[in-house]
């Protein structure tokens, strides 16, 4: 392939007040692998134009709807046309946009969760298969260097410091929905607690999916059985704001998963502990550059980003030397950069990049 950088990106969603759209833009632009050329950024045309101006998108490529955008971009000369569609809308729109974009010949980067029903997920998978395009599901925490190091250590199996996995404890605790923020006009809270836009899983869809994905990504195993419960602590809330489950993995390990958005004062507490026959691992997203390794014969060892002792993928996931903190945006940007590399090379996605099969929906 001869595609050169930067690749051209178009975005669906991401208007003023949105959170994740701006994150995708920064992540895509960070290394110069993408340039943002078009957008259907809001269902309100004025807001779309406002954001387009702020983001340096030409007014004529700030579209009133994503359907219009797909058609107009398809009609552009190949060297101008967007190559990748980034979907950052509320969850209920993911499947429709993704399928249409794939059919129209675009690669797709889609925010998690994949969609809100299994049927929709299967439909996206079918569209992907027939399209010959690439699909990235932005489970961003899999881009964190020390998460990748953890996965590499587990993958060594009995030869490595962890051995055969026995226990996996994963949790994602937040507090920002401990009151009924959704009735105050806060946009993020409003759509995430609306089953029509968010799907049936409240905390499960929003953050439980991250916990689920992280457990599978590091363990290298699928969760095959679970027994759990969901609850809405805030009166009148239509979706769960808290969930917990006992989980079992295909390889014989078991453990627990919990997620909550009513743990007052907890910010973004994604954390995982894994233990095998020989050692253990602990990673906490809020201090993402540390990975603790437990062993039976020495005290806990902390591996850190940027160091030469890391596995190759973890090393190549770092932008700065040891002791220079890698942030949330950098790990997100790793996915976009590697997605661009795959598109440019014409190869399939590397196995560590989350694609359609990472899109378990739990519903």
């Amino acid at each position: 392939m001869t595609t050169t950088y930067p690749l051209r990106l178009a975005m669906v969603g991401g208007g003023p007040g949105a959170f994740i759209g701006a994150v995708h833009r920064t992540a895509a632009l960070m290394d110069g692998a993408f340039t943002l050329v078009a957008g259907a950024l809001s269902s309100d045309p004025a807001k779309c134009q406002e954001r387009a101006a702020e983001w340096g998108i030409a007014p004529e490529r700030a579209y009133d709807s994503w359907r219009e955008m797909l058609a107009a971009e398809q009609a552009l000369p190949e060297e101008m046309r967007a190559q990748v569609i980034s979907i950052v809308t509320p969850n209920h729109l993911h499947h429709e946009v993704a399928i249409a974009a794939l059919h129209a010949g675009f690669h797709v980067a889609c925010d998690k969760p994949l969609t809100t029903t299994s049927a929709h997920a299967v439909a996206i998978a079918d569209a992907l298969e027939s399209s010959g395009k690439l699909f990235l599901l932005t489970h961003n925490y899999t881009g964190a260097p020390m998460v990748r190091e953890a996965r590499a250590l587990v993958a060594q199996g009995e030869e490595g410091p962890i051995g055969t996995l026995r226990k996996v404890y994963v949790e994602y605790l937040q507090g920002w929905l401990s009151e009924d923020l959704e009735t105050t006009g806060q946009k993020q809270a409003a759509w995430r607690t609306d089953p029509k836009r968010n799907g049936p899983g409240g905390s499960l869809g929003d953050i439980g999916t991250h916990a689920h994905n992280l457990a599978e990504f590091i363990s290298g195993q699928r969760i095959t059985r679970l027994l759990g419960s969901r609850r809405s602590f805030v009166e009148g809330r239509a979706v769960d704001d808290d969930a917990m489950a006992m989980i079992e993995f295909e390889g014989g390990a078991d453990g627990m998963l919990r997620c909550s958005q009513v743990c007052v004062g907890r910010e973004n507490g994604l954390a995982i502990q894994l233990f095998g026959t020989k050692g253990g691992l602990e990673w906490r997203q809020e201090h993402p550059n540390d990975l603790t390794i437990y062993s039976a014969t020495e005290g806990p060892l902390t591996r850190r980003t940027g160091n030469g002792y890391l596995s190759p993928l973890a090393q190549s996931s770092c932008r700065v030397p040891p002791g220079h903190p890698e942030g949330y945006l950098e790990s997100f940007a790793n996915l976009y950069r590697e997605f661009a590399d795959a598109i440019r090379s014409g190869d399939p996605l590397p196995t560590h990049l989350p694609s359609i099969e990472a899109g378990n929906t739990w519903t």
Copy 2:
């Protein structure tokens, strides 16, 4: 009451190679509230005498059996006679010794778990009631100053920084039984994995009871329902070495409890997080002098031992000023000291001290 310090203590169990017996002795002696005057320290008379010599117990009061000790001590003049019997044997002996000691007119300090069946627990409770004596179940972590501070903060309810409890996550993770240590002759591992001596609950009886007790002590609520699983990861082990449960509290909170002795490299990882409508708490036993308080409007606050801002009970539970670490033995010693105070005063046990009703056995 005119009883003066030190009170006279006799011990059942605690011979060479035992762990918890030495802990009880140090805890009891730490503040000069007890002196150790007698013991049935081992079923092997030579070992009993050896330990007695090491511990400064007169040879004639180092008895060959606990039955002999109870009889002989009863026959001594009141001013010499042991006043309290400390039971630090494997679990299966607790009920028999406790009942006999109470019937013989001694106060009893018993290591946890209370016993191994509900029937035995009821029998001890009956003996206690008819005896008019005091009974201390040494759930030692309830003696830690910051655990007591946590309990005080939760007890303030809607007036306090936590509000009404919603979530309680408690865990107790160890790694020392990740291999079959019990076949190597290690005494601690041998009895703890033997259902005849330990009771049916392996990790549950040994450390799950601590997690259960801690959750109830801090929350001020009983766990009324649970759904869980137990497992033995080590081949051939006769008791569970790992367990997990979803739990519900009488006041409406729910959460998770997990305990494991196969988390390689974890030492003594008792930890709890609680979240209410207004804030949250986190305490980790391995750094016991810190209590984190979460709130919706400020960052996490760390309260620490020895400071004047603590609740009265937490303050009186500290022996040294701020920044001077209180250890495991000190929190254990708090129970003994307050037990001695209650005996001396003739009052019932204060409600914060664990007695018979803290002895849920989960079986």
Copy 3:
């Protein structure tokens, strides 16, 4: 002013093997405020072209020398011409490039330290004054949200939680030069230990300047006196690899500054503690999203990025919500973004942005 985004940036230095050039590029591009249009990236033309291709710079704007670049860019039509020159060369070239760029009508962003002698510093200042352009000295840690929060808290003086400053302890400990890496061909080590390219201050120039700047930035005071020592632990090294000093501030506080590049195993340990009459602060660069606030009447409070309780500048310095780590690059990017805002607005630099007067050279 009507300048629109992105501004056009040209870089001097930053060729293959350089560290800080790539950092400047990512930082400048992160928010779309700059686009990199030109560069004199290496003294080796082939390497310059190689990097230019990698970075998406047109071959004809990848120049063989910075002098050629300044001339050629000046000759371009205004709407194409670079607006800002970013200087990321070894230290000894800073002054010459900066002065020429300012004289040629470009704004300048210059890596720290400003230069290697006081005379050069004065010459840059003179050039700046006569140019009417803006000058950014990239003391990147001043862009970290919690550093800015610290500064805001100290600035409240007796009205705030810190009161009048008494003590400032600042340190910057690294280990990467604990052996004579410079003789192995490592490019970073080679120029930083060569007084001709680095200037006379080894660790002092490289990292001591950061510590010095951080202490002044947060305290809001200049260091007016110091007494210290410098040392080269590695045999044959021509510059200091370790230094320490007792320091005094214009406002009456005193303290200590230390920097070292031979603290084996320490990565990038910039840290500061400040204490006033009412409270204290602690910030550690390796976990930059936490700011500890000490008080006399409560335990330590940890403020964290992304929260609404932060000062306005700290809040606007965050790109992601609470619990989503901001990294090294983000804090660096804050300087570039705010520099772009100032250029666009035509206003002087805001006082919190480091400019020429932050360039104390200590030599």
Copy 4:
């Protein structure tokens, strides 16, 4: 020797309101190696009797003065007589009591600092030499298991993980004297800021001595030169409440020492970092059970109390298994227990126990 446990201890100082006297008592009693039989606990006879009753000392052995006590105890039959005198008075009394006690044939345990002038120190040393008795200076932090582990690692020199020492940074930061507490009647503050009772060194004598001792104990080297400053931040205070120094060691290392009692909100912040040619160490007293080991080739390793991988002395300094926190009192008690062992065995003090030569006075 045939001396059996418990040894008999008499105390000078330690009346109501004193801090360190109660600590010495608990430490001495913790393992049953000592029993407290006599005391000159206060210059106020009523207070002395009050404390004696509380502590279980017979009224007739609660003396009105230490001179009276020495004479009376000497006159008792050998099997009753106190064997060790513990000196826990304000500093100005140490030398007189110590010399008299040694001359009277008692072993002496003396709180730090040794005394307030070099002449007094020499006089104590002379009395000790002629007495043939043992002398313990209770630099209690040298009893902490992980401090002893640190010393053992450094002692391995080039064979060990640290190599030859280059840098030693030690600090002891407190905040409790940040206001003029001494004028409020607080007893601890009153004598410690009174040069007549405390000696000329305020923070230096109280806590700087600990920092100095810790640096020498772990490094295994004497500090041979220093350059520093002292200051009183609180108006009207007669002694320093803050000090700092650049220091040099006999083996070629250098570093910094700082101590302060005006760092508001800091509790008992004794901390040390040491770096050698191969690795480094970090220990923080407030979390004393962790010792961080830095290396050039792996991430930081944390060694913890109670583990089998520790050096023999560190292991024997632990009372409880891994993960069960050892506290301040336990490390203090290690000194008393080993002092008792030495007395009982008739051997000289082991070299790791602080005796007269640890009593550098800095004045």
